[in-house]
């Protein structure tokens, strides 16, 4: 394992400290743990709290700030944070308008956030949550864990964050978050794995000509292993799966071409070149495009594609001001 860190024990905390010190007038770390909150608590709005394992940088701490999150709770790498830490985050930012937690659909995240919300309710904090499950690589089914929450989560942060910033009520913010969740779909792939610092070796191994299709964001293998093909063919494969899931034809969409952490921007732009042409061909109208590292898996190389079907409300909220380390608008 070759990493620029000071030890596997300290990496999460030093990372959170490093983030906060990059914008000390805007961000603060709680003493209770690896929880990033806005330096100035914003009253009179629903507080938006997100979080999950570390290793997805800039998610989630990088999205704390005006127009997006009020708090982000970071667990150990790829491990959901514990209820006490999530509760500390909720408590620090809670207002009388309530708290909405944005949870990615993983057994661990859901359980830990549920327990934290129970703790918050015990303290008379009005708290609710939504579960993001945008990953079409995984079959949705009532009898299983269902789809994972991946890069689409960032768009939930953006749009629900804007709604909250406008002073909407908890049910209103929750409703728009759920609307985003209902309309956002993602699929990803990897050409090289990542290494959890504490594990010391990669989550899987790939030959020089192999890729994993249908990966999540935790260094886990994907749904199939295939031969490396061109950027265009690879992007087409992911897009076709997304386009088959809900109807995007004739709709306006936000496109996110998300790098997994070690993917050079060069490749993301090559991919975007195809994505834009293909969507046009398919009759999908692109309202806006985001290309970059938004929801990563440490130093995994690969990418995910996300489409969000917009309506007028989501469009306006997507365009609203955001001022966070990782997303400014």
């Amino acid at each position: 394992m070759k990493k620029l860190i000071n030890g596997v024990e300290s990496v999460e905390e030093q990372m959170i400290l490093g983030l906060v010190k990059s914008a000390p007038d805007k961000l603060r770390k709680l003493d209770e743990g690896n929880v990033v909150v806005r330096a100035q608590k914003k009253e009179g709005k629903v507080a938006l709290v997100s979080g999950g394992g570390s290793g997805h940088e800039p998610a989630h701490g990088g999205f704390v700030g005006e127009g997006m999150l009020d708090a982000a709770v970071a667990g150990a790498v790829f491990t959901s944070p514990t209820p006490d830490k999530i509760f500390a985050g909720i408590q620090a930012v809670a207002t009388d308008k309530g708290v909405l937690c944005v949870v990615k659909n993983y057994t661990g995240d859901v359980m830990n956030f549920e327990m934290a919300i129970d703790m918050a309710k015990d303290e008379d904090i009005e708290a609710d949550y939504v579960v993001v499950n945008d990953d079409v690589a995984v079959k949705d089914s009532l009898y299983t864990t269902g789809r994972r929450g991946v890069a689409g989560t960032v768009l939930v942060h953006k749009i629900a964050g804007a709604k909250a910033e406008q002073g909407a009520s908890l049910p209103e913010v929750k409703a728009v978050a759920e609307k985003v969740i209902a309309n956002v779909r993602t699929m990803g792939m990897a050409i090289s794995p990542c290494t959890v610092p504490a594990a010391g070796k990669p989550g899987f191994e790939l030959a020089e000509d192999e890729v994993e299709i249908g990966i999540g964001i935790h260094g886990e293998p994907g749904t199939t292993r295939e031969k490396l093909s061109t950027a265009d063919e690879t992007a087409k494969k992911l897009l076709d799966k997304i386009l088959a899931d809900i109807d995007f034809k004739g709709q306006e969409v936000v496109v996110m071409v998300n790098g997994m952490g070690a993917t050079p921007l060069m490749e993301l732009y090559v991919i975007n070149n195809f994505v834009q042409d293909y969507l046009k061909e398919q009759g999908v109208k692109v309202y806006d495009t985001m290309v970059g590292n938004y929801m990563t898996s440490i130093e995994m190389a690969g990418f995910s594609l996300t489409l969000l079907r917009l309506d007028d409300e989501m469009k306006a909220l997507y365009d609203a001001k955001a001022d966070t380390p990782a997303l400014k608008r």
């Binding site: 394992g53 667990g75 150990a76 790498v77 790829f78 491990t79 959901s80 944070p81 514990t82 209820p83 006490d84 993983y106 057994t107 661990g108 359980m111 830990n112 327990m115 990953d135 690589a137 995984v138 079959k139 009898y143 299983t144 864990t145 994972r148 959890v196 504490a198 594990a199 989550g203 899987f204 999540g216 935790h218 260094g219 886990e220 293998p221 749904t223 199939t224």
Partner: protein, 207 residues
């Protein structure tokens, strides 16, 4: 006979075992999960060890509940709330007791399993820790009903749990991260079922 001191000894033995099996459990989780199960449990039980001196003066219930709370606050992931809830529920079942009979142990184990099912919204046959724990409980309670001592009953429980672990290799996961792999999860043994087996083995060894 299980008393608080013995229970503390078991917790210590489990903690040592989790540390010893950290890499292997993590490797299993690498194959069908996110490669942290051993790391998570080792971290969690290390924090339990720090708390143990405070807990071992009281009753078994308090000891187990405290263990569960430490796990909930220090493991994270899926196994944190699940094992945490299991220990807390077992603790509730043994609340106020400084000694527990084999039958009382069985009741606590049943409560623990119930806690996992409730928290995880899961059942046997989904390729999780329940596939070790449920058959183990069944074997244990039958043995105790048939008059076995706790240690002998646990020996039978371990046999059943080991079979359960083998069984997880043959099925598709429908809960937890491994479920994302669909068919590809077949052929791999579930990390949580494996760590459950290790816990039962440590209990048996200590008795």
């Amino acid at each position: 006979m299980l008393d608080t001191a013995k229970a503390a000894e078991i917790i210590r033995a489990i903690a040592a075992r989790m540390e010893a099996e950290k890499d292997f459990l993590t490797q299993l989780d690498n194959e069908i999960g996110d490669g942290d199960h051993g790391i998570n449990l080792a971290r969690g039980f290390k924090s339990v060890l720090e708390k143990l001196p405070e807990l071992e003066g009281g009753d078994i219930g308090g000891l187990l509940k405290g263990t569960g709370m430490q796990l909930v606050s220090n493991v994270g992931g899926a196994s944190g709330p699940l094992y945490g809830t299991a220990f807390m529920k077992a603790g509730n079942a043994l609340k106020g007791k400084t000694e527990a009979t084999a039958a009382e142990f069985a009741v606590a184990m049943e409560a623990a399993i119930g806690g996992i099912k409730m928290r995880g919204k899961s059942e046997e046959g989904e390729k999780t820790m329940l596939d070790a724990l449920c058959p183990a409980y069944k074997a244990l309670s039958e043995a105790i009903d048939g008059g076995d001592e706790l240690k002998d009953a646990l020996t039978k429980a371990i046999e059943a749990a080991a079979k359960g672990v083998e069984y997880t290799k043959t099925i598709i996961a429908t809960k937890g991260r491994a479920s994302y792999l669909g068919e590809r999860s077949i052929g791999h043994q579930d990390p949580g079922a494996t760590s459950s087996l290790y816990m039962l083995q440590e209990m048996e060894k200590c008795l």
